[in-house]
Subunit: 111 residues, 2 copies
DNA sequence: CGTAGACACCTAGCTATGCTACCTGTCTAA
DNA sequence: TTAGACAGGTAGCATAGCTAGGTGTCTACG
């Protein structure tokens, strides 16, 4: 049996997270819910993808974290975009546009 | 110095190859040229990505290979789609459509 | 009361992918 | 005769995303 893999988020996760965080400070768990909700359940970010992603984004100085209380009084790590992060988001969105255009071109033209 | 990576083809390579091969028997080197050409130079499939991809597609029985002469008389390995390969292409195209729709939704809605 | 399930965080370890950097050999054109 | 296109290939690396596990709190329900 070769391989039962999901692999939904093909290199788009970082961009999606950055985009959601661009909406204002938000904690990790809520980010994944928001991605799932907006995408109408297409994306279901597993926690094993989410948290490592958040950590690498933080390490690259694209996100900043701070522990704060949620509305329900519990503690959670709230992320916000850094200036570098905002620039990175711009770049990634542009790249994504170009990539999907190029793919669309091939899917329409080739074959 | 972190890392100077290119990473243009984010999980799309298999689909692009299948799509190009769907146009009729074609050899590896020509596949990469065709992808580059149709995408207006956006994609430049390195050989170190191309050949391993072809081999795994063949191993999954999505492609079939046969050595034949090119128009210039040289030998080359011509690939064509198997029935499974054609089905796989359908699936991947559908998935891609859904993926890019979901991403577009988030890029428009979030933030 | 106690327990299931949501909330919120995390890590280890695996696999697959795409990349750089190499290698072989032929043919054509400068 | 030599550079560069053509045509095939491999080794080894980094990374991303996944599964599967873990911690602990709070709420709701039987």
């Amino acid at each position: 049996m070769p391989q039962e893999k999901a692999e939904f988020l093909k290199g788009t996760l970082d961009m999606l997270i950055l985009k959601v965080v661009a909406g204002g400070p938000i904690h990790g768990y809520a980010i994944s819910q928001r991605i799932q909700q907006i995408s109408k359940d297409f994306f279901q970010v597993p926690q094993g993808s989410l948290y490592p992603a958040l950590h690498r984004l933080e390490e690259r100085d694209w996100l900043e974290a701070e522990w704060k209380d949620t509305s329900t009084g519990r503690e959670a790590k709230f992320y916000k975009l850094t200036r570098k992060g905002r620039a990175q988001l711009e770049t990634e969105m542009l790249n994504w546009e170009r990539l999907s255009d190029a793919v669309a071109l091939i899917l329409r033209t080739a074959g």
